[in-house]
């Protein structure tokens, strides 16, 4: 993953020196290849989503989006995201703080462990929770006795989403905090600030842009997560279906237009995420922060 604003951005005003430039033919071919790829695999599908969604007119579109099950799916997705993002924010700051400010045994292990959810297939993550909390799972009988429902309910969806998105904030913050060092914190302390004051007035503002970026990525992924949630949700329409699951169900029921209408919501979300990300990078480079 690319560090969003690692290091000062030097805009190359005069371009690359001639000695490093490839011949025009090579440049042209490479650029054309990239453009064709983007057109075929990114823009075309995007266009199709909106075209299909609006194929039967605005009426059908708004009916699909505003029908009760769709609204419930949206509510569930928003609720999950609102729970997951703050928790991940806390975890991300704590993990990044521990990794970048302290030396301890097993530090490398922790860094690797943070990345684990990325390397495990989401479906397997979901199954993990079923195995743990499902009726036949490790804690299943204990939970059953106390009538606590985790799998096929909101807690399971939240847990699965949390697991899948947990690396996102930490991964943004670790390189940022490492490169920023702790001189400003030391300074604040000699100037009389307490630990909490230093954290709130110096450390948090320092990593502000990294945090924003992490939150955006984390929200986008929580809203769009399909695999893990699909396993733990149980697909109870109107109760445990998130927006992506709702899209899948509509599709499986051959309600293509409705499926694409709801899918267009997710697509627009992706576009908003991109724009926000671009804005943040632009602001950060403008203020020369995040160095």
């Amino acid at each position: 993953m690319k560090l969003p604003f690692g290091g000062p951005k030097r805009r190359e005003k005069k371009g690359r020196p001639r000695s490093l430039n490839e011949p025009p033919l090579v440049r042209g071919l490479l650029t054309a290849a990239a453009l064709v790829f983007i057109l075929l695999f990114l823009l075309l599908p995007l266009g199709i989503v909106f075209a299909k969604a609006l194929a039967e007119g605005w009426g059908m579109y708004s009916r699909s989006v505003f029908e009760p099950y769709a609204l419930r799916a949206i509510r569930l997705t928003v609720l999950t995201t609102l729970i997951v993002v703050p928790l991940n924010l806390l975890f991300g700051i704590a993990a990044a703080w521990a990794v970048s400010k302290f030396d301890f045994r097993g530090k490398n292990l922790l860094v690797t462990a943070i990345d684990l959810p990325f390397s495990v297939s989401p479906v397997i993550s979901g199954m993990l929770f079923v195995l743990l909390f499902g009726a036949q799972g490790l804690f299943g009988p204990w939970l059953l006795e106390r009538d606590i429902k985790i799998v096929f309910a909101l807690p399971g969806i939240v847990l699965a989403t949390l697991f899948v998105t947990s690396p996102l904030v930490a991964r943004e913050l670790i390189p940022l905090m490492r490169s920023q060092g702790s001189e400003e914190e030391e300074m604040a302390v000699t100037l009389g600030a307490s630990g909490l004051q230093t954290f709130l007035k110096v450390s948090i503002p320092k990593m502000k842009w990294g945090l924003f970026y992490g939150v955006i990525l984390c929200s986008a992924r929580s809203i769009g997560e399909f695999g893990a949630v699909s396993v733990v949700s149980g697909h109870i329409r109107g109760l445990t279906t998130t927006v992506p699951l709702h899209v899948e169900m509509l599709y499986n029921e051959y309600q293509f237009t409705a499926a694409f209408a709801v899918a267009s919501l997710l697509t627009m979300l992706a576009l908003v995420t991109l724009v926000l990300k671009g804005l943040i990078e632009w602001r950060a480079s403008l203020r020369g922060e995040g160095k």
Binding site: E183, E184, E186, T190, L191, A193, Q197, K206, E289, K291
Partner: protein, 622 residues
Amino acid sequence: MSIVLEHLSKVFGGHGVVSNVSLEIADGELFVLLGPSGSGKSTVLRMIAGLLDSDEGRVLLNGRDVTGLPPQKRGVGFVFQHYALFRHMSVAENIEFPLAIRKVKPAERRRRRDELLDVVGLVGFEARMPNQLSGGQQQRVALARALAHRPEVLLLDEPFGALDAKIRAELRRSLRRIQGELGVTTIFVTHDQEEAFELADRTGVMNFGRLLEVGPPMELYLRPQTEFVATFLGRANLMVGECASDSVRLGSVRFPLDNQITSTGGERRVQVLFRPEDVAVRDSPNVLAVPLLGKAVVEEAGSVGSLEKLRLRLPPLPGVRPISPPVPFGVDSILVDATRSQDQARRYPMEPGDEVWVGVRRIHALLHPGLSFLLVAGGGAGREAAVDLGGEIARLAHARVTVLGLGSKGSGVAERLDRVRERMGSGLAALEIRHSSAGLADAVERETGRQPFDLVIAGRPPEGAVEAAEGALGRGEHHLLVVPEGSSIPKSVLICVAVGEPGKEDVHFAGRLVRHVGARATILTVLPERSADPARAQGERFLAAAARSLSVLGVQGETRIRKGRVLDQILAEFREGKHDMLVLGVPLVASGARASLDGHAAEVLKEVRDRPVLLVRSRGSE
């Protein structure tokens, strides 16, 4: 006294980064802590600010012991090399930060901020963000911020290190002015001697974690006491000559000294210093009204601004060993650096290759003669330990080192010595590597005959340690450190003395070594079981005198008297006190004869197998 440091020490990963630094800084003083990178000067500063805990010692600010206090409670202002401005705050917010933390009212905050912006010359910059300022401007803001809460003490850690020369000079003047106006006691850390000369009321020079000398910068420049300070502050011509009561002999010429040297323990060699501007150069001996060194050849000549720099080559002088400028290996002539005013250079032009006469206007003898060590490498188990520990001690003592490799050709000695050279390369005053296929005793005798050494460091062989030690002590004047495998720099040294021993050579030499490695010392004497009170009183007086001479050297020492059998009591104290090096005086039987260890020394050496033992030759009743 605004700042008092008492025996401050800090160890990182087994290495003493700061050892036993004591310092007093007066109210309103601007003190410059000077030293090469890695000398521990920044560590001292961070310990004063509370950003680092000290392992030992105390920090007092205005009479208040702040050693255990967190940085917030110390009331210091700190300035880092890289400014450390809060990048998300404007200049105004940065400067007001310490006031906002202290809940000062906004109106008062603004007043103080405007005052400080005026002081540092940045009026009108309130709304700027740090990244809109140049490096010099950022450092001015950092200075204003560090002063905002009216700290009692201002600490600056290489504050101008990242700026270019012109801005540095400008900021130095500003700092001097601001510090004078506000009267805030200041410590300024730098590796740049120019900053010390321009800024300091007093300066302290650090190397390898120890504070070597303290004084006004010009005083240290003109009259340094140690080789390191002599060569670190400005350019130096430094050589070893022979000493008389009020003069020093270089070759056949006697030079009057500008200071009295108190000869310690019959030292006849002395290090003398003359600066390039003290050297007089002319084409004829008759026009020089100063003592002459001799006739030299101009090696290099070149102008730097207002001065002309000359490097002159003198033929070897009997009994004189050059130290600085260093002479390339295998060359026995003496190099001398000289500077002349451009006026002189125009009037008496000199070209490389010209023959000229060299005189010295002013010469200064160093109080502490430099140490020179012979490390014996190879030739069996334990001998690598001698090179490792000896090299480490030599680095700390800034000693000149000769490594003597033992072993017949083809036994891998050459390869081993190459590795030694790589390992020890940096941080030594001088390093020479020699090889001998003779046995230990003969090889050491040959080397010490060629050139006198203060200390021979040899590994402890598994068998026959006493015989080996006798061999290594031989006929010379040197002392001997016997090092077993796996030894490390001692932290606590036990010095055993016998009451009424003729000299205090053992205490004195051990004290010098202990000071260099930054260890603590305990002086022990053992009295017979049924000794009378007068004997005890005499013992106490003797120990008190010994402790005094240690404290003169800057070594913390305590004293102990034990009664009983000498060997048992020494061993008991050594184990109980958890000391890690033992010092014993060895009386010389007769001058010129081979040393023989008898009595306690041999017994102790047999018993103490796992710690270094220093055998100090007592000069007897010569």
